[in-house]
Symmetry: C2
Subunit: 458 residues, 2 copies
């Protein structure tokens, strides 16, 4: 923190205004999933573009996509300075179920040091923190310490369908040395952390057919295959009884966890009882030989997301079902390849499909490669250094069990790794009723961003 007084003073003097701007932004119901909110999403994009301009960003553009637009910004200060791309999104999840909200989702209120509104944690506070930090740096120093690209999308909550072609097409205008995500979360309040990997995703639907129609079980059940029974056998074949994935080749490309990474994960506090209580589950489950955190963060999984066939109504219907279906997704770790995993699933189905059942395997959308940042990435090391100083403690090294395709897409298309530098917390009710964001983190996050962008100048 080379010149704390200047930008720090600016931030302190303008904190109330910045918070008020966040409140204004939160009043816009930019729900990307609902067509009725299309105009609101446009309004939010305009708000973001205007706010970038008022922060001093010289090149701001709303770039249309097949869906909701991208808000793009560029502040080039010098050819010999590094360039960081700041990623965030201005769309939000739908607010329902509305009756569970204590105050309306798009009427932000502050209670007990928390700002309640849909999008507060995911991801409008993060977006405003980044912009206001840039404003403070610019006002204090005449401009940001590095070159900046702003990439604020409006489709994150619907899976970023238009992002991959857009990134590819705009590669030159997006060129950067590091990607900084203002979307993501910290491990816990006062528990600084850095996410170093996210999982990939690959999945398929398997449809089984055993006959032309559902059949009378008295006439046929004893003599022809039952699609539901065949599916139960097939669906049960994807795991060993111990909980390991039983698909041949599934683990072939998985990098074994080195001892130092296992130690790193073991150093992260994990309260099993609280974890179970949060879900209502009565027992942990998973691949033997790994801790729950290792499984969630660093081991691949195969999940049966849905299974159905035959009669689901009230009472009894004595049919021998003719078809059954299962949806499967796998969470992938380096160096698993989504297309290869789908091929392994297809082979598994071909080999384990019971006789008399015809199987069709259809890949599911949403395939994504796993993402991991190199531990010697300078932007990651700089983030660790800023967090260490800010919290006066060593940041935890964490990982995400979820999938964030954007990280891998930027890595692949721009050759730049993403550093998650974000201030949402696991208890902020993201995607749930009564979403909120800590005011303390709004204040701290803005200072952290100023320090971090300064640190990236090297």
């Amino acid at each position: 923190m080379s010149e704390p007084e200047t930008w720090a003073t600016y931030l302190a003097q303008h904190e109330a205004r910045h918070l008020d701007e966040l409140v204004t932004f939160l009043r816009i119901p930019s729900v990307s999933a609902l067509p009725t909110h299309r105009a609101d999403v446009e309004t939010a994009a305009t708000w973001v573009a205007d706010r970038l301009r008022s922060a001093g960003v010289p090149d701001v553009e709303i770039i249309p996509t097949g869906g909701h637009p991208l808000v793009y910004g560029r502040w080039h200060v010098a050819d010999d300075r590094p360039t960081a791309l700041i990623y965030a999104h201005y769309d939000v999840q739908p607010p329902d179920p509305l009756d569970l909200w204590e105050s309306p989702p798009f009427a932000p209120v502050i209670r007990d040091g928390r700002l309640y509104a849909r999008g507060a944690a995911d991801d409008k506070a993060g977006l405003v923190i980044a912009i206001t930090a840039v404003e403070a740096l610019a006002r204090a120093q005449g401009g940001p310490p590095i070159n900046l690209v702003f990439f604020f999308e409006g489709e994150e909550e619907i899976g970023s369908p238009n992002l991959p072609p857009l990134v590819r097409a705009e590669r030159e205008r997006l060129a950067c040395d590091a990607v900084v995500s203002a979307d993501g979360s910290m491990y816990g309040p006062d528990t600084p952390s850095l996410t170093v990997s996210t999982k990939g995703l690959a999945g398929c639907q398997v449809d089984l057919r055993t006959a032309d129609t559902d059949l009378h079980s008295g006439e046929y059940g004893a003599a022809v295959p039952n699609a539901v029974q065949a599916m139960a056998q097939l669906a049960a074949s994807f795991h060993t009884p111990e909980g390991r994935v039983a698909v041949a080749g599934f683990y072939d490309r998985v990098r074994e966890l080195p001892a130092e990474e296992r130690a790193e994960i073991a150093a992260v506090p994990f309260d099993e009882a609280a974890f179970l209580q949060g879900t209502g589950a009565t027992a942990l489950w998973g691949e033997p030989g790994y801790s729950p955190l290792e499984r969630r963060w660093a081991r691949p999984t195969l999940d049966l997301n849905g299974l159905w066939g035959g009669f689901q109504g009230a009472g009894s219907k004595t049919v021998t079902p003719c078809e059954a279906h299962v949806k499967i997704t796998c969470r992938l770790v380096p160096d698993q390849e989504p297309a290869e995993i789908v091929a392994l699933l297809e082979r598994h189905v071909a080999e384990h499909c019971p006789p008399g059942a015809q199987a069709t395997v259809t890949p599911l959308p949403g395939a994504a490669r796993p993402f991991a940042i190199r531990r010697d990435n300078p932007a990651l090391l700089a983030a660790a250094s800023v967090l260490r100083e800010l919290f006066a403690k060593e940041p935890l090294v964490t990982r995400s069990g979820g999938t964030l395709p954007v990280a891998e897409i930027f890595q692949r298309e721009l050759g730049a790794d993403m550093v998650f530098f974000a201030w949402s917390m696991p208890d902020c009710n993201a995607h749930a009723p009564n979403e909120w964001f800590r005011l303390e983190d709004f204040e701290r996050g803005r200072r952290a961003y100023c320090a971090y962008l300064t640190a990236l100048a090297g």
Copy 2:
């Protein structure tokens, strides 16, 4: 056939009228399952009662039930004569899908020697055959050769919910030496047969729960149980890979098939290719060590009728489902007991439910004991003799894989075994569009009933 001329002449002279009466009866859309047809069901009951009276039956009564009424008739001729109860039903299946009918379901038409209408085969022709045969005997001989009780229900197609208490309450008025069912079917045209057993039924629904709500598979899938996966394992545990039921104790009470019964079944022609083609199945399946017909007719089965859990919509939803459900029914053979089988299923679930899943087992309605007639039953032997003479060939001994609770209820409550003496054929589209009945069987069935009731006089 002691006095063929008299009743035979009467039948021949009145055949056109009798057929016209059947057509009139078929015009009444007595669909028991649909509340909108309640008045039609009443009309059909009145029609049947009137027709019994015009046949000469002295005591006819419409007995109300909690649902559709029973048409009861009694013709007592002499205390020293045996009594037969003739069973049939006057209600029909719903006709939909209507667009698949070549002519309207309740506008009977004759094409190529077949009478097309909903209910033609199941079971209005059978009911009219029995009444008109009694009329012929009465007109020719002054009364029937034996005492008769008529039991024509209006709820067969909805599972006869009011029949068991009614039979119990009316035990005295239903007392008989034999039950003759005018509902049922022959093995094939010009292939006389007698059904000697029907299967019982017992079932349950199993509900599994692993957590309070569906969970994010990235955050939780690697660490807590998945209800769909647990259900797949559990559902796959009910059978051995070879197709035998794997529930402990399931076969304990099953009477092994004696060599002579296996020979009897082997003597029944069974076209595997045609059977498969009729279903669209590509392979037979079932318990090893038994032929397809043995399995369908004489071995118990466990059928998974429906299975569901998790996400069933289009595309992908990366959830770890918290609940899953399966519906199971078993077809039972002597001496399996429905309640005992449900208890075995409960024990199996308790023993095979994967850790972390809570199982609830709920018995399904429709439990029924298996039924079998003693082979030396005089009414069965008399039926065989009549069929042998009528077709000039030995009738086949067949069984039903289906469940007809009424047979076992009459056996239990009245101490009388049911003889299936019926003229529907497997190709008659019962329960399907374009249901039909052979005119030839209407003529032959009436003669057969006269001969059979005469034979029952001993």
